[in-house]
Structure formats: structure tokens, C-alpha cells
């Protein structure tokens, strides 16, 4: 088993499948009266969050607590970071406290890689800059597999702001490893020209959502990051929504079995219409529940054995 989970590229097909299978067992245990497992008793997991996050932090916290690990939540606000402490000094503090795993979210791409050199424990990337968010990709892959029964040969469209999306990057890497065929869809300004080649040569690119929909098993809508709106990547929110938003009419172009995913938080009416988000094809709520199982699997596989 690997020591850190910094990138979805850390995972080969066998390891990724092991995580998904383990997540399946964890999900089965979530239906019990007593959800807690004694597995990680005495281990300490630090949630080190330099960026705001609700679902990811809570999800990691729930996952660690269900496995009986001790959880220390650290957010940059109200800590020594606001007094100017560097990532390295914070890392050394955590090291001295004996953290067995550090779950880090950081605005700088690559922060988890730096952190892994400074601490002895495992490092789990919970989102770094515009780089990666591997546990999101794992829970997405898990959701696809449990809804559609397989990943091999699945056609997946990832739609929206690919340029700034760590979710997209991790998903392309993981899904390709597991044999799915990914098509990136969005306005040309938001899809880096050489991204397909850089991530995986099998990845396709399209600027026309309507033409790809009839072929897809999965459509994953990315959040339009409103903080990017000032940067003129597209003329207006309405135009974006017209061309790349998933509304009912577009959803009807999908094959009958296809599912609609969104990593959240979503802008209803912008990239996804409310009727689509609440439809039976939507897996948005399932994704949140699956997130806890996937993260339990990751924490178990990283921390459950001999250090």
C-alpha cells in the first residue's frame, strides 16, 4: 500500500480498485446501529485546512471518527497562521504532536508534496490549489461504479471550468487508470489547450455539450467558480449557462441509464438546473454519503497496517 495520497496518479489500477472495494465494505457497515469501528484507536488524524470547506472537512472528520481515530481540526483562521507562521513550521508542530496522518487543503498547488517531506505520518491531499483532489475522484468513481456496475469502458463527460478544477484533474487521472473514457467539455478559455495530452492521451476535448451528451454514461458538472467571473473567461453568467449549463432539455439527450454528478457546492440555475439536480439521475446526495465511505477506506488503507 502507498504511504501518501497526494495525487490520483499515486494510484495504480489495483490499488484504486482495492480502495473502491474497501469503500464498499465501509458503506455496508454504515447501515448498522453502531457505526463506529475500533480500527484506528489511538491514531491521530489532523485536518489541516487553509481554505474554507464544509463537506470535505466534515467528511474526513466523520470518516476518521467512525474508525475511532482522534481528530484534531486545524483551520488557518484563528491559528498561528494568521500570525504569519509558515507551512513548514506548522508541519513541524504537527510532527511534534505525533500526527499519524495529516489531511491538508491548501490554496497552493503542491502543498501536500512539500508537507510530505516534513512529517513522518501519511499525507492526504484534500484539495490543493488548482491541482488535485484525489479523494473526490475516488468517491466519484465509487458512485459511478455502484450506480452503473462498472468503470471499464464508461464514457464520462466532465463539463465546465476544467482549467481551475482540481476535481477534474484528479478524475481524469483516476478514471483513465480504471479504464473509463473521459471527454472534457467547456468553453475554450476554460480548457487548457494541452491538458488532454498532459493528463492522459486518451482524453478527448469538446467545446459543444449538446453533441457529446447522447453518447455519455456519466455527466459530471463542475462548479462555476464565481470568484473567476471577473476574469472574463466567458462573456456572462447567462451565456455560460445557455451553452454549458445542464437543463432539462439537455438532460433528455442523455441515454436512459446515464447519471448526472456534481462535486458540490453547486450553483443551481447556473451550471445545473434545479430540476436536474433533484432528478432521479442526479447522484449529488449519494456522492456526499459515498465520500465518507471512500475516505474511511483511504484512512484505513493508509493507517490500518504496520507504519
Amino acid at each position: 500500500m502507498i504511504k501518501h495520497l497526494r495525487s490520483a496518479a499515486d494510484l495504480d489500477a489495483a490499488t484504486a480498485t482495492l480502495i473502491l472495494d474497501t469503500a464498499g465494505e465501509m458503506a455496508a457497515l454504515a447501515g448498522r446501529e453502531v457505526k463506529k469501528l475500533p480500527t484506528l484507536r489511538g491514531r491521530t488524524v489532523v485536518n489541516l485546512f487553509y481554505e474554507d470547506s464544509t463537506r470535505t472537512r466534515i467528511s474526513f472528520e466523520a470518516a476518521a471518527k467512525r474508525l475511532s481515530a482522534d481528530v484534531i481540526n486545524f483551520s488557518a483562521k484563528g491559528s498561528s497562521v494568521s500570525k504569519g507562521e509558515s507551512l513548514k513550521d506548522t508541519a513541524l508542530t504537527l510532527q511534534a504532536m505525533g500526527a499519524d496522518a495529516v489531511v491538508i487543503r491548501h490554496p497552493a498547488s503542491g502543498a501536500p508534496h512539500r508537507l510530505a517531506a516534513w512529517v513522518d505520518g501519511s499525507v492526504v491531499n484534500a484539495g490543493d490549489g488548482t491541482h488535485e483532489h484525489p479523494t473526490q475522484a475516488l468517491l466519484d468513481a465509487y458512485t459511478m461504479r455502484s450506480r452503473l456496475g462498472r468503470l471499464e469502458g464508461l464514457k464520462v463527460a466532465i463539463v465546465g471550468d476544467v482549467l481551475h478544477s482540481r476535481v477534474a484533474r484528479s478524475n481524469v487521472l483516476l478514471l483513465t487508470t480504471l479504464g473509463a473514457q473521459v471527454t472534457l467539455v467547456g468553453p475554450p478559455t476554460l480548457i487548457p489547450i494541452d491538458i488532454a495530452a498532459a493528463l492522459s492521451p486518451a482524453t478527448k476535448v469538446s467545446y459543444d455539450l449538446d453533441s457529446v451528451l447522447p453518447d455519455m454514461d456519466v455527466v459530471m458538472m463542475l462548479r462555476v467558480q464565481t470568484e473567476r467571473m471577473q476574469d472574463s473567461y466567458f462573456p456572462s453568467a447567462r451565456e455560460y449557462s445557455r451553452r454549458y449549463g445542464l437543463d432539462l432539455a439537455r438532460m433528455r439527450k442523455l441515454p436512459g441509464h446515464a447519471i448526472v454528478m456534481h462535486p458540490g457546492p453547486m450553483n443551481r440555475g447556473m451550471e445545473i438546473a434545479p430540476e436536474v439536480a433533484d432528478s432521479s439521475r442526479s447522484t449529488i446526495v449519494e456522492q456526499v454519503a459515498n465520500g465518507v465511505s471512500a475516505r474511511m477506506a483511504v484512512l484505513y488503507l493508509l493507517l490500518g497496517g504496520k507504519a
Binding site: M1, D21, E33, L37, P38, G304
Partner: protein, 187 residues
């Protein structure tokens, strides 16, 4: 399964037909001790306890026409030696419909040795529900208990040395039915 190395001495303890007779006997004993297996659930501990539990249920059905619910209980997350080994893959936990609350659970495993697996199984069971009672059925008891645990149904007691190991093979998992003793110096 890999064929045994030529330089390691080994002895067959139970042949296929012995093993079938032993399973038949345990099935009869379960019927006897549980007054016809009423309110009873068989839970196999992965890996080989699961096919054994299924076989016991099949035999009970053949003898008395009773369908005893069968499930599996994985104990990996409850082991006390997780930190001593590389991370283990999980097995399946599948409780039969109706659960285990208020029922008599018979845990089924292939070999009873230190008792630590059974200890973990009891902890796991405790989180799944509240059975009215718990019993233990094993194909082989090889001794060397490290915890105060005993089996209710034993297929065969095999006195062993610590240096020896007991290998249970079942058709479902290994392609043949057989119990073998390997290693040690006194064979």
C-alpha cells in the same frame, strides 16, 4: 493453491471424505444442541468459515428440511494485530435478512488457534446487534489458546506444535477438500 514444497514435511489430517463426515456430524450436533436449529443463524468468518457455514446449512437442510439463514462476518477491522502487519484487505460482511437480534448465532471458522479471531468476531457481533446467544463451530481445534475461549462444536482436535501449521483446503476456495499439517520436526 501452491503445491507444498518438497522439503517441508506434511501429513494429511482429514481427507475429503473425512471432512464431509465431520461436517455432517457438526450439522447433526447443531440440530441437537439448538433443538432443531430454530432461531439460529450461521455466520462464517472469511475466508474459509463462509463456505463451511454454507455447507453446514446445506447439510441441515438435507437432514431436516430446515433452512437456516447463513451470512458472513468479517473481523479484519476488529483485529488486535493490525499494526503488526501490512494493511489487510477487507472481507465481506453479509448478515442474513432479519439480522441477528434475539437470535442464536453460530460462528463458523476453519481453525481455532489463539482465540484472537473469535475475540474479534465477538466484538464485531456486538456492533451488529444483540444475539440471544453465541456459539462457535470449528473444523479443527489445534490448541494453543491465548484467550479464555472454547468451541461448542469441534470437527477434529489436532494436537500441534507451535512450529507446525494447519492448512485447511476447501473446494470452494482452494479446489479440493483436505486438512493438512505441515512443518514441525516430529513428523
Amino acid at each position: 493453491m501452491a503445491s507444498p514444497r518438497a522439503d517441508v514435511p506434511s501429513k494429511i489430517i482429514l481427507s475429503a471424505s473425512d471432512l464431509h463426515r465431520v461436517v455432517d456430524r457438526i450439522a447433526h450436533q447443531i440440530l441437537e444442541k439448538t433443538s432443531g436449529a430454530t432461531g439460529t443463524v450461521l455466520l462464517g468468518i472469511p475466508t474459509r468459515g463462509v463456505p463451511l457455514a454454507r455447507r453446514l446449512a446445506d447439510r441441515i437442510h438435507a437432514f431436516e428440511g430446515i433452512d437456516v439463514p447463513v451470512g458472513s462476518l468479517d473481523i479484519t477491522l476488529y483485529r488486535d494485530d493490525l499494526r503488526l502487519h501490512a494493511t489487510r484487505a477487507l472481507g465481506k460482511t453479509e448478515l442474513p435478512g432479519g439480522g441477528i437480534d434475539g437470535r442464536r448465532v453460530v460462528l463458523v471458522d476453519d481453525v481455532l488457534y489463539s482465540g484472537r479471531t473469535v475475540r474479534a468476531a465477538l466484538d464485531a457481533l456486538n456492533d451488529e446487534g444483540r444475539p440471544s446467544s453465541v456459539q462457535l463451530a470449528v473444523l479443527v481445534d489445534r490448541g494453543h489458546r491465548q484467550l479464555p475461549i472454547r468451541a461448542d462444536y469441534v470437527g477434529k482436535n489436532i494436537p500441534t506444535a507451535l512450529s507446525e501449521s494447519v492448512r485447511v483446503s476447501l473446494t470452494e476456495t482452494d479446489g479440493l477438500d483436505e486438512v493438512k499439517l505441515t512443518g514441525g520436526d516430529d513428523l
